[in-house]
């Protein structure tokens, strides 16, 4: 006897952003077939337009009165947190698009496929920010990763690019395998994949058996890889160096953020009861990540590679709030969560900005060596100033956005107030000083050193890059001066139990 099939309730308003992006990526793919080389430039515009278009439903959702829209048994939720991050991903995607336009065009790489993959990856991220269920998270993760693997190898004829792709792919797959194993155990223990239900079963003695511990650990490892936390960071520098710079920017910001989003959901909804596991774990990861990242960054001569390590270190700062979120009964959970989200927003802007500058400069110097930045200020003052802004923001010098990000982190730390937390805070503080050294050394190159090859012809920066620079710089400075902006996003920590 056939069972009646009850189609699930789907809130299409809530799904609108994803749907739009899906449609657009389909259009891009199709259009790619019918356009011949000269008109390919259209594609990027279509994609960009699509991303902006997808913002519209996000706004309408944000303004709509009823703010938590839960679907399919709580497996897919659109709330404030989800909206903010979707917006972030769209924004990042748009900037990366701007960075890539000329790059892809001039490097005569496949354009249609490039934008298509970019969009699908972004789609994965958007799904991730709403996913509240292991399966959905897994699918979203793969959706954002797999295109990224291929994008990393997009400079097909370049060995470094190939190598980057392979390393990223292999380690990525391994990490997700480990994560899956962990997920399977969690499912085996709870019999469900919905995070909220898992969360309910994370209390009591049964929840404290080693198996659960192991499972949680494996899952975290899977994402620790994504956010390139030491000791799971090894792929990052190589991949970043090899991949096409816009893709690098994308990886270092978007997919990293994706990983953090997943972690936030898993930890705060799913495993919050087991802070005894992930608290110390994140503590170790954070300390290692900050320190190792910064120390190695000190020794880099290639700017992309240096930025790679810097972004590792930054991930370390972002991990700090996780470490203390559970201490003394999750007293500081709320501030910690907020700190992470804020840091992610700010980090996206400043890191993208820095990478945009790298692309712009490379257009002239054709080199990624830090030494090639000598005397940049003399022939490209604008770029030099912007770069300084981004770098010092990364270093956390007020009144730039990066400073507030760090303040939020420190605030969370002291809110928890345990001696371990404070110790971690001091480590972070010291690290921020170490970091300043290599950021400042680039500034030094740009401002105080002579031009290596007396060539002082100014850099021709295409409009798209100018736009990208404009947006990122604006964000960094405006937030720097008016951090209150965050308040307008409503409660960012809508996941905290």
């Amino acid at each position: 006897m056939p069972l009646p099939f009850h189609p699930p309730y789907l809130d299409y308003h809530a799904l609108a952003p994803e749907i739009i992006v899906t449609v657009v990526l389909a259009i891009v793919l199709v259009a790619d077939l019918f356009l011949d080389r000269p008109q390919k430039w259209l594609l990027s515009n279509i994609a960009g337009f699509g991303l902006i278009l997808a913002m519209a439903p996000i706004l309408s959702l944000a303004l709509s009165p009823h703010d938590v829209r839960s679907m399919v048994g709580g497996a897919y939720v659109v709330d404030n947190f989800a909206l903010v991050l979707k917006a972030l991903f769209l924004g990042v995607g748009y900037i990366v698009l701007l960075m890539a336009t000329n790059y892809v065009e001039e490097g005569d790489y496949y354009e249609g496929e490039f934008y298509f993959l970019l969009l699908s990856s972004i789609l994965g991220m958007m799904v991730m920010s709403s996913a509240r269920d292991l399966i959905t998270i897994f699918v979203a993760l793969e959706t954002l990763s797999i295109p990224a693997y291929m994008l990393a190898g997009w400079r097909k004829r370049d060995l470094k690019s190939n190598e980057a792709a392979l390393k990223y792919y292999l380690l990525g797959v391994l990490a997700s395998a480990v994560m899956l194993y962990g997920m399977s155990l969690i499912y085996g223990y709870t019999g469900t994949t919905v995070l909220s239900r898992i969360g309910e079963q994370m209390h009591g003695d049964a929840a404290h058996q080693p198996m659960v511990t192991l499972a949680i650990l494996f899952i975290i490892v899977g994402f620790a890889f994504k956010v390139s936390a030491v000791p799971f960071h090894a792929w990052a520098p190589d991949t970043y160096e090899g991949a096409p710079t816009p893709v690098t920017a994308f990886l270092s910001v978007a997919s990293k953020t994706g990983g953090f989003v997943a972690l936030l959901e898993l930890i705060f909804v799913g495993f919050f009861g087991r802070s005894d596991v992930w608290g110390p774990l994140f503590g170790i990861l954070a300390a290692l990540t900050m320190t190792v990242g910064n120390l190695i960054a000190l020794r880099q001569t290639n700017i992309v590679r240096m930025l790679a390590y810097s972004s590792i270190a930054q991930a370390g700062y972002i991990l700090v709030p996780f470490a203390i979120a559970g201490s003394n009964g999750g007293a500081a959970a709320h501030t910690a969560f907020t700190a992470t989200v804020v840091y992610l927003l700010v980090y996206a802007a400043m890191n993208l900005g820095a990478f945009t500058v790298v692309i712009a400069v490379a257009r002239k110097t054709r080199s990624g060596e830090i030494s090639s930045y000598g005397g940049l200020y003399e022939y490209a003052p604008g770029i030099a100033v912007l770069m300084s802004v981004f770098l010092f923001s990364l270093a956390g010098i007020p009144p730039l956005a990066g400073f507030w990000a760090k303040v939020f982190v420190f605030r969370a730390v002291l809110d928890a107030g345990t001696s371990w937390a404070v110790l971690l805070g001091v480590v972070a503080a010291v690290n921020s000083v170490i970091a300043l050294f290599y950021y400042a050394s680039i500034a030094r190159q740009m401002w105080m050193s002579p031009v290596p090859d007396g060539d002082r012809t100014p850099i021709a920066v295409p409009t798209s890059l100018v736009t990208a620079l404009g947006i990122t710089a604006a964000v960094v400075v405006v937030i720097g001066i008016y951090p209150q902006a965050f308040a307008h996003f409503g409660d960012l920590a809508s996941l905290v139990p």
Partner: protein, 505 residues
């Protein structure tokens, strides 16, 4: 009103940014205009100020700023902040004037002036801020322009000096911000300085000590106090003239101001426990700086070390936690600002004329440029604390106050400090006169006999006269400053419970 005073310069900087760098005259004119306007605003503040109530904040502005962390845009000035605020305004104005026709290499007035204006906003803001986060933002805002000023327009060793200055101060600030946040959570979830002062006393003593330690690192490095001073000589030696002037005249004051405005009133008990050690470092600094001076060959470096000594007096005054001491400290800050600023100006002009600062090669300045020479003499005497000139009122009361520190501090310890500090004044006389003799007296060295050395010229006169007048004026009418500071200081020390020992009897 106050907001204008703080942000006018940075607006000016923004304007400058849109003027093509070729239009130098215009750039300079705008910069001059802005700084002058700022100063005028400052002066009007001065006139609008209610001296009868100098103890309390005036011109307060208190808007919500970052509700997320409950930090507010709260500014205001009391008798302590006002003179320093004006100092920074005037100094910047004069620096603009001074650099009118000689910008250091690489020329580029546009960038230079922009930096100077940003710097001014930072300094004014720090003196006006009444909210820890706001304070910190301005406090740090000062770093970058100075970093670039030293690093781009500085001397041969500039890169090292600039990065050292930068990292050093930032290290302090890193711990400072932690301390601030700790205050936030321990002191009733607010960054508002007045509120914290009201509640600070309630924090447990142990916690206070730790937090104070954080603050101490932040401020002591900026001052700079004895073991943390090593960035200063490098920074000063390498910095362009104007840079050194601002650095000496205003930046160092940020640290001491921090002690008076934040550390002591909010954490009185910790302050008491720390005071003897601060005092110790202070007097060590006095002697140490003086000895450092005696071993110098480079004029600018000598003046830099003298700053260490002078700030030692200021810190000694602060360490006593008495009305006398802290009044003296504030006065000392202003005086040191004027005098040392002047000395650096002169050092700059001398280097400009002789292309060297080596004492061994200079001499007979009085013969070639008598006015310059006598101005130098004047400043040297002002700096060694000659009564009737500004320097004296920073020095003498500080020593005076050490005779009888706040209740609860060991009198014996501080009397020893007093004696040492007093001996320090002799050293001061020693190295300053020695410097003066080498530079101004005697006959011209052979290598410069033929050199045409022009005497003080117009921009220099314009830039210097106010300072010189100030030195004389404050020397003769210390009241001009004390009547601002006294009440405010009274409130500070009252939190330490030192009023009884300071005002009474």
């Amino acid at each position: 009103m106050l907001t204008v005073a703080v942000f006018l310069p940075i607006v000016g900087a923004a304007v400058l940014a849109f003027i093509p760098r070729q239009r130098e005259e215009m750039l300079k004119a705008v910069a001059l205009l802005v700084t002058a306007a700022t100063t005028i605003v400052g002066i009007s503040l001065l006139f609008g100020f209610d001296y009868g109530d100098a103890g309390h904040l005036q011109y307060q502005v208190n808007h919500g700023w970052i509700d997320v962390i409950n930090s507010r845009y709260h500014i205001g000035v009391d008798g302590i902040a006002l003179p320093l605020l004006l100092l920074s305004m005037v100094i910047t104005l004069l620096c603009v004037i001074y650099s009118w026709d000689h910008f250091p290499e690489p020329h580029n007035p546009k960038a230079f002036l922009i930096l100077m204006l940003v710097l001014e906003t930072g300094m004014n803001g720090t003196f006006a801020a009444e909210d820890l986060i706001l304070f910190f933002v301005f406090f740090e805002l000062v770093l970058l322009p100075m970093y670039f000023m030293i690093g781009v327009w500085g001397g041969p060793n500039r890169q090292y000096a600039s990065i050292k200055f930068f990292l050093y101060t930032l290290f302090g600030s890193a711990l400072m911000i932690l301390a601030f946040l700790a205050l936030y959570f321990k002191g009733g979830q607010t960054f508002d300085i007045p509120e914290l002062i009201a509640q600070g006393g309630t924090i447990a003593h142990g916690t206070q000590l730790v937090i104070f330690g954080g603050l101490f690192m932040g401020f002591a490095i900026k001052v700079p106090m004895f073991p943390f001073h090593t960035w200063l000589p490098d920074a000063h030696t390498e910095a362009p003239t104007v840079g050194s002037v601002i650095l000496a005249a205003v930046l160092l004051k940020l640290g001491t101001y921090g002690f008076i405005r934040i550390a002591i009133p909010i954490l009185p008990e910790a302050a008491k426990s720390w005071a003897p050690w601060i005092g110790l470092l202070a007097v060590i600094g006095i002697i140490y700086g003086a000895l450092g001076c005696l071993a110098q060959r480079d004029m600018k470096r000598l003046i830099a070390f003298s700053s260490v000594a002078h700030m030692g007096f200021v810190m000694l005054g602060i360490a006593t936690l008495t009305n006398f001491g802290i009044n003296a400290a504030v006065f000392g800050m202003v005086a040191h600002g004027l005098i040392t600023g002047m000395l650096f100006f002169i050092a700059g002009s001398i280097q400009e004329r002789f292309h060297t600062r080596e004492l061994a090669r200079l001499g007979g300045l009085l013969l070639q440029a008598p006015r310059l020479g006598w101005i130098l003499g004047f400043c040297a005497f002002a700096s060694l604390g000659l009564p009737g000139l500004a320097g004296f009122w920073g020095e003498f009361p500080a020593i005076l106050s050490a005779y009888q520190p706040a209740a609860g501090l060991s009198e014996l310890t501080f009397r020893v400090y007093m004696a040492v500090a007093a001996i320090g004044t002799v050293f001061a006389a020693g190295y300053l006169l020695w410097m003066f003799q080498r530079v101004a007296f005697g006959t011209v060295k052979a290598e410069f006999e033929s050199a045409h050395i022009h005497d003080v010229h117009i921009p220099e006169y314009l830039a210097w006269t106010p300072l010189l007048l100030g030195i004389l004026l404050f020397g003769i009418f210390p009241h001009l400053i004390f009547h601002m500071t006294d009440q405010a200081v009274g409130l500070v020390t009252s939190s330490v419970g030192a009023v009884s020992s300071a005002a009474g009897r």
